[in-house]
Symmetry: C2
Subunit: 359 residues, 2 copies
């Protein structure tokens, strides 16, 4: 295991070379760290701001060994890191954060909701089903409609569909890939909120103000933060974050997606064991943003403050929308963040802007 | 010449791989640019956050050609870039900013003060001397004491000394290197201030609030910003910045060091055609810091806002002082910036902190 807190000048490894890895690398650079990226694609966004790149699959033992040689502390930008890769790195003496348990739970929607409920955190009612028939039977007790999702993988609305009647469950099961699924009761929420929080290696917790999120076609479009909420709601979110972080013995930043119900209760929709798109507002709304906070946590540094100093509207730039960079850069209230991606495929996250107003 | 404004995904070249180059590279990365560093030293701070590095001397035609192949827009982190290098890059079709005129003037203290006075900007009285005898004669009219400085090079108090009597001028001339010098009358200032300003490719100007600077042994120790000044003083500084930027047909960020006299007048001490240590406070005190502002200017982008949203005390971390990183990172009001330098030589700038208070 590395000596912690990790001194500046050390190298931090990151699995994944996309925009989250890039923003983590830039934050690490501000604190005097070098970064080593492990990523299958040559020239990925994060690799172009990193001191070292290992090109290879996330489960390639040679690539993992090369990363371990460069970096004694490793983190990741996405939750589908193979468990075996974390074990492999750990066996090589690397401190991987967040840890294997957080990954395992975030990779399986049934394990995730089971953990949450056991930790005293409310979710929608749910059931697991491994076959089409089991899915149909589960709907008998859960009721209809349900949201059917594959237990593993799938993001931004992929691998999921609504099922209106139990009789349609088998068709839906085939449509999402004939793989084990979770069935979720509807939440009847009034707003989608999220909370970005961090836990340090000593167990200390720091929670950012709540954010209000608006999705389009399953993809995050806008975040408003700090969200207008009562102090009871803010307290509720902090308690939820603390239960999850402590329950997972978590190290790093976590994104927790919430449903706000009409009666004020918060249900957890899902957790992402990484920096999160709904936390991008912190880059211009807080003194220490989620990326620096994550680097601080995994490096064993003290956590930074989380209060907001501006009201922020974060807007994702999808596909060709990023072509408006010159106009956006000319808006005095707009801070522009672009990811250096070369190919603006439709719907691809190319950047985001934070529009600021005084608090 | 490159097409401007330079689109994200393009590469920006930077001459110099120190901390200023590093912070420029991190800012360029946020906007989606790649960076190519030209730097003689392998593994210099900026190279470790850059997509490309050309290792070579700043006047090596092969290295310059390699940089020109990577980047159509080139800037620099230090003012002693050889004029021939800028000419060489320009001949290769590269847009170099700030331009050759700003460099030539900033490299020669006599040319600098002559330009300033011709532009209607006040300085201390001064005289040029190429020989020991000429220096002694000049003191007959300038009076004593004078501050003798080499005309070229020298920074952080190096290559300069006070001369108390005309008879001592020849000894001082030998001591500073027996090279052409400038003799400067004392300023009798009450405070050292500085103003960081930027000019875009379309001639638009943006000026940050004034900063108050405290030096120790010729090296910047602390900056307080925004400085407590009257609106008359702020206006005076803005007019000075505008005269200098327009007079040089400048593109990029400039650092202008000022003496504030007891009667409120501002004299220009010196100008630095680059991002400036007294502008580091903008990293946490402003929405767009001096590094992003410089990248915006040289890339032909619109300039960003310059107002402060916090009161900042910037403290340079010299040599072993940076070893206190863990303590500093634990102070809630303190933002830590470290440069990734491996060798903490005494007095070497290893990082800085910005301590924030509400405005």
């Amino acid at each position: 295991m590395p000596k912690l807190p990790l001194p500046p000048g050390s190298t931090i490894g990151i699995l994944g070379g996309g925009q989250l890895g890039r923003m983590l690398a830039l934050a690490a650079g501000r604190l005097g760290f070098d970064v080593a990226i492990l990523e299958p694609e040559v020239g990925a966004p994060a690799t172009r701001v990193a001191a070292h790149t290992v090109v290879g699959a996330y489960d390639d033992p040679t690539a993992l060994a090369a990363l371990a040689k460069l970096a004694r502390v490793v983190t990741f930008e996405f939750e589908n890191v193979p468990a075996a890769s974390v074990e492999h790195l750990t066996a090589l003496g690397v401190a991987v954060a967040p840890g294997a348990r957080a990954l395992a739970i975030a990779q399986d929607r049934v394990a995730e909701k089971t953990f949450l409920n056991e930790a005293g955190v409310a979710t929608v009612a749910f059931a697991a089903a491994d076959t089409a028939q089991a899915a149909q039977e589960a709907m008998a007790s859960l009721g209809a409609p349900v949201l059917m999702k594959t237990r593993r993988e799938g993001y931004d609305g992929k691998g999921q569909r609504w099922v209106e009647h139990a009789a349609e469950a088998p068709v839906a099961f085939e449509a999402v890939g004939a793989k084990p699924v979770i069935l979720e009761a509807p939440a009847n929420f009034v707003r989608e909120l999220s909370v970005i929080a961090a836990r340090g290696r000593g167990g200390e917790i720091a929670v950012y103000p709540l954010a209000e999120n608006h999705h389009e076609k399953g993809v995050l479009r806008r975040t408003y933060a700090p969200a207008k909420v009562t102090s009871e709601t803010a307290d509720q979110a902090e308690r939820i974050a603390a239960k999850i972080l402590s329950g997972l013995d978590y190290v790093g930043v976590i994104g927790i997606e919430l449903f706000e119900l009409a009666d004020g209760r918060l249900l957890v929709n899902e957790i992402a064991p990484r920096v999160h798109n709904t936390g991008h507002w912190t880059m211009d709304g807080c003194e220490v943003d989620q990326f620096e906070q994550h680097i601080r946590a995994v490096a064993g540094w003290p956590l930074g403050p989380t209060h907001a100093h501006a009201q922020v509207e974060m807007l994702n730039l999808l596909g060709k929308e990023a072509d408006a960079w010159a106009k956006l850069a000319g808006e005095p209230e707009t801070r522009v963040h672009l990811y250096g991606k070369r190919d603006a495929k439709p719907g691809r996250k190319m950047g985001h802007v934070n529009r600021l107003r005084p608090l």
